[in-house]
Amino acid sequence: MSILFAVLVISAKNPVHSILYLVLTFFTFTIQYILLNAQFLAIVNFIVYMGAILVLFLYTLMLINLNKDAEPVKTNMVKIAAVLGGGCLLVVVVAALKVIGVSDPVLFKDPNLGLVKNLGKVLFNEFLLPFEISSLLLLSAMVGAVLLATKDPKTA
């Protein structure tokens, strides 16, 4: 299911359709997280990806009015070469998987592993410094984005 939607993301002609398919793909990923009993990640995936990032994409598309659909088509030669390259990557990974052999089913060793309580303990004990640094990263990204997106006062 998510494979189908992912294929549609890269093959849709209209970028708006492409974004909507991306929403569906992320939704299937959220379902996967729930199946893996990772509830915190499922919620974060739902909010951050399907909420924030996709809205950001849609707004950008709205800013850059793309209705004329002016994307020039690449030659078939390049397309075939690209698909071949991606296929080669896939074959290599799958072949490596074949060498490893059959694996065990994914058992939930710890039933409350992915719950918010457990993850919060790990996050704020062992990973406190990376957590603070990531907050700095987000702040600098926000400032940088605003700085880039505002017009230069000299040229405007």
Binding site: I10, F26, G86, V106, L107, G144
Partner: protein, 109 residues
């Protein structure tokens, strides 16, 4: 609901690896065949997400919460990256009136 999770427990780890590999390859192909900068960005998001799923699967498989914390950091990073990247795309569009990446040929060495 209980039987549903019982069935979900029988999925082998290999299937998760396979799914992630396929999605990652689709992302790579998307980067290669499209020239619309925004679609290329979305392909990068696809790749990031497939890696996230793989990390989560391994973390559940090993019973170790570190992997899921790492996925959380990757998500924060992806949010920052998308914000800056889309700002750059908007700026490119203002300067060149198109988001075709071939316009940026001048960046070639």
């Amino acid at each position: 609901m209980e039987s549903f999770f019982k069935t979900a427990q029988t999925v082998p780890l290999n299937h998760y690896i396979l799914l992630s590999a396929i999605i990652f390859s689709i992302g790579v192909i998307g980067v290669l065949i499209r020239r619309n900068a925004i679609v290329i960005f979305m392909s990068i998001e696809l790749m990031l997400n497939s890696v996230n799923l793989l990390l989560t699967a391994f973390s559940v498989y090993r019973g170790d919460a570190t992997g899921q914390v790492f996925v959380f950091f990757i998500m924060a990073l992806a949010a920052a990256e998308v914000a800056v990247g889309l700002a750059i795309i908007v700026m490119i569009y203002r300067n060149t009136n198109s988001i075709d990446i071939n316009v940026l040929n001048r960046l070639k060495w």
